[in-house]
């Protein structure tokens, strides 16, 4: 039977293949989290075991050591190319969350990413954002054009009809491609369980705590949980009262924090 997860998978594969056909300089943002690890699996499904474009990781230097170890191991296992980008100038100047969380995100993540795009002349970038994560992401298109400053014209997005996407762009823009936009957090975990995908160990509970969303150490907190298996995590998510990104401090900075960050090129 053709089930909801089958449909999500098929749609994501279709999107990867569309982008691969239409764009030359592609890359996939690999944040080491569950969503981008699921994306890597979908890429291998789409291209019969290969990852035919580089994986990009924006390193803020504030990531958990477990994340870096997991990243390096998986990249090797998948025989993928990894490009690590850092905003060295901002890091050298001592940028950190104590100078303002939104400012830190903008410098180390948004700008770090913009620098990478420019250095490598990436024309298309896959991102693992999902509509159910947060309100401004819910409004996204699958193929979302950005100007040369990476800005998102969220008030005037082009139409996207059926499975036809905007795939022609002028030379000074890049496009953000969102292959798992329609997945929910539970879909991701159900799919991880179904496909037996290996996931960063920080997601599983140890000593009564686990991470539900992974990010930088100073701004990401674990939740109280005893869920140490995939089945327990899925059961926990069915009854949990908090939103997924509750442990991400930058989201809580102001009423429209994420919209403002994202308009300027945040993921």
């Amino acid at each position: 039977m053709y089930e909801h997860l089958d449909e999500l998978e098929a749609e994501s594969i279709y999107i990867f293949r569309e982008a691969f056909n239409k764009f030359d300089h592609l890359a996939m943002l690999y944040s080491v989290g569950k969503d981008s690890t699921v994306m890597a699996h979908l890429v291998r499904k789409a291209f019969f075991g290969k990852i035919p474009f580089p994986l990009v990781h924006v390193d803020t230097t504030y990531k958990y050591p477990e994340m870096i170890a997991f990243r390096d191991r998986m990249v090797k296992e998948w025989a993928a190319e990894l490009v690590v980008g850092r905003n060295e100038e901002a890091i050298a100047a001592g940028m950190g969350p104590e100078q303002g969380r939104m400012r830190c995100c903008e410098k180390l993540k948004s700008e770090g990413l913009a620098q990478l795009i420019e250095q490598h002349d990436f024309k298309g970038l896959f991102l693992g954002i999902r509509r159910d994560e947060e309100g401004s992401r819910a409004k996204e298109r699958v193929f979302s054009p950005r100007d040369k400053n990476s800005e998102w014209a969220y008030k005037d997005q082009p139409p996207e009809l059926w499975d036809q996407y905007n795939t022609s762009f002028s030379a000074d823009t890049h496009v953000r491609i969102h292959p798992i936009l329609g997945w929910t957090e539970i879909n991701i975990w159900e799919y991880i369980a179904r496909e037996k995908i290996e996931i960063c160990p920080l997601y599983f509970a140890a000593e009564g705590k686990r991470f539900r969303s992974l990010g930088c150490m100073p701004c990401t907190g674990p939740i109280a949980s005893t869920a140490s298996t995939l089945e327990e995590i899925i059961a926990e998510l069915r009854v949990i009262k908090d939103p997924e990104r509750a442990g991400r401090a930058q989201d809580q900075e102001s009423d429209y924090a994420m919209q403002k960050l994202r308009a300027k090129g945040y993921m």
């Binding site: 053709y2 909801h4 947060e134 009809l161 329609g182 009423d255 429209y256």
Partner: protein
């Protein structure tokens, strides 16, 4: 795991008739909103000194909340005991019609929301028209804000009559008309005592009766080729099955190239080896022989092909900033095919609110307008009529890099030489048809030619009749031509999914011996 087919629903209606509130209520009543998120909205509302706004759960952008209007389409999720739902919130304001259509295009079903006191308004009509353009047939009309009139039955009935009469003009018959209050929750998940006079289903139970129509395996097999990958020494043709299903060994034809072959294997990663693949699946295929075709070709069963065309007549809705102009060249994308298309005529330009024809043979179609448009393609493509096969019968038009509008194919002219007319020898058919004198053309496409032998005319003259089963009115023409040339008569009637045409003759039998001959 509790998985089943999901249903995508779009919620449309006039601005301020309560779409975002209804969605907030659906999410709340199905327990789909994390309590923190609810608290967050409650806090924001308190800070801004207004009562709790369900709409804030959907209208996340600052501009949307400040101006109390939905700007862009949102998708969100809830689950009933039956299945998961994706709700598409579509902006009601005219300015944001492109966002509304973006949202509505992928829906299986729609809730058309109507303020019971205000009744049918401009955007109600426009949105209903979009539903008919997109071919959405599973429709619930929700008559809202009845708490404001103490759930007065007469107010509801008046609104119901008005909307039914209007939808009738669009050929839409709403499956349900439900009296609700999105704010108080009446008839959303269940009745709450306000509408004691109503005994139909609530919104949620009505939705549970609808069907997922996105991956239809009952239609003919269509696979638009997305790309060709070289994996090892093999060429794998990849794509997403649009409709129908395919099996290893099926005799298939690529169009427009016309190359025919057999399916050798169905490829997936990490395990291949499946014998069958159905609508909605992203797959790879290999074939018995080396074939070189490109993206844009459509793979179909050799005995049930789409039409190869260089001219498309379509219902077009235009969303671009610049108008669609007669004589201009655009890029037309249909399934995975794309190419240059000249807009040769805008036959009718409609007012999409009143649906009146504003102009015939117009020079331009402006943003938010729709009409009947003819495109001439530089290169032939394979397509179906929208009513027969949705995914192969719809397309987008690109203007200046971006999608400027969409269209649904109403008529196709088969490209010259692309498909030979199907020749039907009437004597043969006539003699071999096991269930009597019946000729079934419901699976035939393209043009048909009849070759008649003398014996056929004699048998009709002897009083026999032949039933032709036709797929549509266009097939009447070749039969009528046959009747004209040979001086036969016919009658026809419209059946549920075909046209029954009976051919007979009123001529006298030529000679006694000839008639006796046939009787043997």
């Amino acid at each position: 795991m509790n998985l089943s087919d999901s249903l995508k629903i779009v919620i449309v209606g006039h601005v301020d008739h309560g779409k975002s509130t209804l969605i907030g209520r659906l999410l709340f009543d199905t327990g789909s909103i994390p309590e923190k998120r609810y608290q967050e909205v409650a806090d924001t509302c308190r800070r801004q000194g207004r009562p709790f706004e369900f709409a804030y759960l959907m209208d996340a952008l600052e501009e949307e909340r400040e101006q109390n209007v939905t700007i862009d389409t949102t998708q969100t999720f809830f689950q009933t005991s039956k299945r998961p739902y994706v709700i598409i919130d579509a902006p009601g304001h005219k300015e944001f019609l492109k966002n509304m259509i973006t949202g509505a295009a992928c829906a299986d079903a729609a809730i058309l929301l109507l303020d019971g006191i205000e009744g049918v308004r401009e955007q109600t009509r426009r949105h209903a028209y979009v539903l008919s353009l997109l071919g959405i047939r599973q429709v619930i009309v929700a008559v809202n804000k009845l708490d404001m009139v103490d759930f007065c039955r007469e107010v509801f009935q008046q609104a119901e009559n008005e909307i039914r009469a209007f939808l009738h003009t669009l050929d839409i018959v709403p499956t349900y008309v439900v009296p609700i209050s999105a704010r108080s929750g009446e008839n959303i998940a269940a009745a709450q005592g306000g509408t004691v006079w109503y005994n139909g289903p609530s919104i949620l139970s009505a939705l549970d009766t609808f069907e997922n129509l996105r991956a239809d395996t009952r239609l003919a097999f269509r696979l638009p080729i997305q790309d060709v990958y070289k994996v090892g020494t093999r060429r794998i043709y990849v794509g997403r099955v649009a409709t129908g299903s395919v099996e290893v060994g099926t005799q298939v034809t690529f169009l427009p190239s016309g190359r025919a072959t057999k399916v050798k294997s169905i490829e997936r990663w990490p395990q291949g080896g499946a014998q069958v693949a159905g609508a909605g699946e992203s797959i790879g295929l290999t074939f018995d022989e080396e074939i070189f075709v490109e993206r844009g070709e459509v793979l179909a069963p050799s005995n049930d092909l789409p039409i190869v065309t260089e001219e498309i007549k379509a219902g077009v809705f235009w969303l671009g900033k610049r108008p669609l102009q007669k004589g201009e060249t655009y890029t037309l994308k249909l399934a995975t095919a794309e190419g240059s298309a000249v807009c040769v005529d805008i036959e009718e330009r409609l007012d999409s609110s009143t649906l009146e024809v504003i102009e015939r043979h117009a020079a331009e179609l402006h943003g938010s307008e729709s009409g009947t448009v003819i495109f001439a393609l530089k290169k032939a493509i394979a397509a179906d009529l929208y009513l027969e096969n949705g995914p192969l019968g719809r397309f987008v038009i690109e203007d200046n890099f971006l999608i400027g509008g969409g269209g649904t194919v109403r008529d196709l002219t088969a490209a010259e030489g692309s498909q030979k007319a199907q020749v039907i020898r009437l004597d043969d058919h006539f003699a071999t048809e096991p269930d009597g004198n019946m000729i079934d053309l419901t699976r035939s496409r393209g043009s048909i030619e009849f070759v008649v032998t003398g014996r056929f005319g004699d048998r009709l003259a002897a009083g026999e009749r032949v039933l032709f089963k036709l797929r549509g009115p266009k097939q009447i023409e070749p039969v009528a031509l046959l009747a004209y040339e040979h001086n036969f008569c016919f009658t026809f009637s419209r059946e549920e999914d075909f046209i029954a045409l009976v051919l007979f003759s009123t001529a006298k039998p030529a000679t006694q011996t000839a008639a006796a001959d046939i009787a043997i």
